[in-house]
């Protein structure tokens, strides 16, 4: 077997976390190898080790490339060897032309003066290779996401590339552009290029990959030197035992509190791309409703667009609360209607990090600590101390700046903020992401207690055991659609995964063409 790359016994530790534990991966020359795993399984970390973002010495284990051991100190070293990585977030400058972007940092120049003619000529060649019919002088910002992704690939090709790594290349593309990209990847293979494809979309992997490696919790759990059925991949991906613990609960589910009908949201940058496609669901009093799905399935988009249209561009759909249609078009209106949204990104969207716990807690309900516009610091301090105690926020005092708290305690401050606003409906987006097991249990307990008080709670989570452990009912979302619903007692990780996978198949099998998507978008 002619291996271009062998990674042996890679172990990478961060303070307190073993991100990779003795990971092995071999890639044969000329194949497309898939690297799959749940969110947080360690795929991106592994690729950062490979590309030198984490330099040699900061990890254990060895990398053999073309049979020789490598010690990359940075991304320059790996690129010099022909290993090029295309990250999930595109690294293009929208204001610059395609040609300028492709040769950014690597300009064709003589003593600092750029040779525009040569640059454009070389760019045109590269664009032909990736099948992008655009002038080299077109500004990248004028291109759609699919074409931008092709520019990114052309940029990779402008370097000497033997091993191309693509991290979720289709996550922001529509079906048509994704297909085109995958075909392109297959054609590169014909020309002898090797690639590693990281993807959540198993149907894409079946479509183009030759072999795959599955990571789970930072360890390699399976290697397959040929394609295997998707059910097998799913089993490998989620096969972890339910060792997390969840507080027991006795749900008291009441009447329908909120009803969402035909909720459709478009990408503000590309109105042909829908972030949420006609979602409809109901939420009951005292219920914990889970929304499962892979990264990029549109769950956050669904939640944030309902909460004051804070994300995407609203196209259509209605929400009723308590049987009455409600206007949720701004955040203050959503709060007034009794909603709260606890963001998945607590640092950039949830907290004023430079402010103390005391000042963060009343932020969504300032009148609650004020009399005629004047903040009563005594009351504020009492409320702060109250929440600090009740939520068990570990800090020196309520005066501590939230930037210095651990993830779990930050999350408790965000939760306190929303509880102080007195909501009836709470949307918790990845409420336990990045927090330790002990704090997780505390948050699960709070969710249970809130439901017992008659609040209605939506939990969005990528950790399926968590959804199975704390919810009453689970909605499954994929590619912007709600594709399934099942009571939690009947749900298993395999069932949820296969709902996601088969919904993806429906789309490919029915062969949605760009014309149909246009037709779909035109009639609204």
């Amino acid at each position: 077997m002619d291996a271009i790359l062998e990674m042996r016994g890679i172990t990478k530790e961060f303070p307190g976390v073993k991100a990779l534990d003795n990971v092995n991966m071999t890639v044969r020359r000329g194949e497309i190898r898939a690297l799959v795993g749940e969110n947080g399984a360690g795929k991106s970390t592994l690729m950062k080790v490979l590309s030198g973002v984490y330099p040699h010495g900061s990890y254990d284990g060895e990398i053999l490339y073309n049979g020789k051991p490598m010690a990359f100190r940075g991304i320059h070293d790996s690129e010099a060897q022909g290993i090029v990585i295309i990250h999930q977030e595109l690294a293009l400058v929208p204001q610059m032309s395609i040609a300028e972007n492709i040769f950014l940092g690597n300009e064709i120049a003589t003593r600092g003066v750029i040779n525009r003619h040569e640059t454009n000529h070389r760019t045109a060649e590269l664009l032909a290779k990736v099948g992008l019919r655009e002038s080299p002088e077109t500004r990248v910002g004028e291109l759609g996401m699919g074409k931008q992704q092709l520019v990114e690939i052309a940029k990779a090709l402008s370097k000497k590339v033997d091993l191309l790594i693509l991290d979720e290349p289709t996550s922001s593309l529509n079906e048509h552009d994704s297909d085109a990209l995958l075909r392109l990847l297959a054609s590169f293979r014909e020309q002898g290029m090797t690639a590693i494809l990281i993807s959540h979309k198993l149907n894409e992997i079946s479509q183009v990959c030759d072999s795959l490696t599955v990571l789970r919790d930072g360890a390699t759990v399976a290697h397959h030197d040929g394609m295997v059925p998707e059910s097998r991949i799913i089993k490998d991906m989620v096969g972890r035992s339910m060792d997390d613990r969840y507080p027991p609960r006795d749900p008291q589910i009441g009447e329908v509190v909120m009803q969402v009908r035909d909720w459709t949201v478009e990408d503000p940058a590309d109105s042909e791309r829908l972030l949420v496609k006609g979602a409809s669901f109901e939420l009951h009093r005292g219920e914990v409703l889970g929304i499962a799905g892979l990264m990029g399935a549109g769950r956050t988009e669904l939640a944030m667009s309902i909460f004051g249209r804070s994300m995407g561009k609203y196209r259509s759909g209605q929400v009723t609360i308590g049987g009455q249609p409600v206007d949720l078009s701004t955040v203050p209106k959503a709060i007034k209607a009794g909603m709260a949204y606890v963001t998945e990104d607590r640092k950039s969207l949830g907290l004023v990090l430079i402010d103390s716990i005391r000042r963060n807690i009343p932020l969504a309900n300032l009148p609650g600590v004020a009399t005629r516009g004047i903040v009563d610091r005594h009351r504020e301090g009492r409320i702060g101390n109250d929440f600090r105690q009740r939520m068990n926020i570990r800090s020196s005092s309520i005066e501590q700046e939230t930037v210095n708290l651990s993830g779990g305690n930050q999350q408790k401050v965000v939760l306190s903020k929303w509880l102080f606003a007195g909501p009836e409906i709470l949307i918790l987006d990845e409420p336990t992401r990045g927090i330790d097991v002990g704090a997780k249990y505390e948050i699960y307990t709070m969710i249970r207690d809130l439901a017992a008080q008659g609040k209605s709670i939506i939990v969005i989570s990528s950790e399926m055991p968590e959804l199975l452990g704390i919810t009453d009912r689970i909605l499954v979302m994929n590619e912007g659609r709600l594709v399934g619903e099942l009571p939690t007692e009947e749900a298993t990780q395999e069932k949820i995964m296969s709902i996601i996978i088969s919904s993806g198949h429906d789309l490919t099998e029915t062969n949605v063409t760009p014309e149909e998507i246009e037709a779909e978008t035109a009639h609204v």
Partner: protein
């Protein structure tokens, strides 16, 4: 990121490290004042010079309290000097040419300032046009409009009644003897009131268990402020009493310190500057708050314009040139962050006085305007470098 373990009570070193900026600025002002007091041979604190110090810097302080809010919200206002000049010119027109009653002119001028600030705030808040650009345009437009309505000429002189706004002193209802008794009562009364409020707040913090300022610091700081107020009042009362504009300034500083620290609108401004997205997702109407902040800035610029033209006794096309830079410098010296979300009204006022004392002291020493500019620039730079290095250490 790990939890900071609970600190033992009275962790003096940790407290200094966290609050070095606030003490540093006050300390710097004391050092600078002591320095100039010595090198000018005692001229700095003479009653007449102290009076001048307030008269000459009042407009900067008035605008600094508004600019502090603008900068805390994460914006900037470059137009304040031009707006001050423009409103000064309008007032000149209304008083001298049209003969309108002075109280009416003052009200109309403040309204005009608020409208101008509101117009700029509208583009900034609702159209998301960067404040730097909107107010740079405003700076040019209102400078031009000032020249246009004044036709390049000065308008003046003003009636005595209007000049009193800037050069008058509060009357002494207890007779003309020195020291001025009403001034003493007001000044010393304020000193006692501030001390009382500080002690009360301290008691409350202690009862809530959140008092982290070591007692020695608390005592020293308040003793210093108390003594400074008592002595300053004594000096001023022995000259001509408290200037009218000092009263205006004192009321504004107290009011805006209260607004920024104790009101919901103040909270919202800090939250927007600290994390605009989190503020918006918490239901704060950011657009409205930013709009109001600029309208308020315009109103304060108008007040400064009135004060300046009353002091110069004429409305001139050149009034207010470079004010914006002095005001912005005062706010940054006072510890505000360019990124928003950080700053105090008192800090901005202290920053304004650091600039003012340096101007005044260097002028007494006969140092040329060239050196003065260089030194002020270096002080601004030093203050910000201090901030940045302090931040990267923690």
């Amino acid at each position: 990121m790990s939890d900071t373990p609970a600190r033992p009570a009275g962790d003096t070193f940790g407290f200094i490290r966290r609050n070095i900026r606030e003490y540093g600025i006050l300390f710097a002002l004391v050092i600078i004042m002591a320095f100039f007091q010595i090198v000018t041979g005692g001229i700095l604190f003479r009653p007449v010079n102290l009076t001048n110090l307030f008269l000459q810097n009042s407009h900067i302080v008035i605008m600094a309290v508004g600019m502090l809010l603008v900068i805390v919200a994460g914006h900037i206002d470059l137009s304040v000097g031009s707006v001050a000049a423009f409103v000064g010119a309008l007032a000149g027109l209304m008083i001298v040419k049209m003969g309108l009653p002075i109280p009416l002119v003052i009200v109309l001028s403040l309204i005009a300032g608020a409208i101008i600030g509101g117009i700029q705030g509208y583009w900034i808040a609702y159209w998301k046009i960067p404040s730097f650009i909107v107010t740079l345009a405003g700076m040019l437009v209102f400078r031009g409009l000032t020249m246009w309505i004044l036709k390049g000429q000065n308008i003046g002189p003003f009636p005595r009644e209007f000049q009193m706004l800037s050069s008058g002193f509060i009357p002494d209802i207890f007779g003309p003897d020195k020291p001025n008794t009403l001034s003493l009562i007001l000044g010393w009364g304020a000193a006692v009131a501030i001390l009382w409020l500080q002690i009360r707040a301290r008691r409350r913090e202690e009862s809530m268990g959140i008092a982290d300022e070591p007692f020695a610091f608390f005592a020293a700081k308040n003793a210093l402020i108390f003594m400074a107020l008592v002595m300053m009042t004594w000096a001023l009362a022995n000259f001509r009493g408290l200037p009218n504009v000092f009263m205006v300034m004192a009321v504004l500083v107290a009011l805006y310190a209260f607004i920024s620290e104790r009101t919901t609108i103040g909270r919202r401004i800090f939250a927007i500057g600290g994390n605009a997205k989190a503020a918006k997702l918490s239901g704060i109407n950011s657009e409205r708050v930013v709009f109001m902040t600029f309208a308020n800035m315009g109103m304060l610029a108008a007040l400064a314009g009135l004060v300046v033209s009353a002091r110069l006794n004429s409305a001139t096309p050149k009034a207010g040139e470079g004010f914006e830079l002095d005001v912005i410098a005062a706010v940054f010296i006072g510890g505000a962050s360019m990124a928003g979300g950080v700053g105090t009204v008192i800090g901005a006022v202290v920053g304004a006085f650091i600039m003012g004392v340096m101007n005044n002291g260097m002028s007494i020493l006969g140092i040329g305007i060239d050196y003065q500019q260089i030194i002020k620039g270096l002080v601004l730079m030093a203050a910000v470098i201090f901030d940045v290095s302090n931040k990267s250490k923690s």
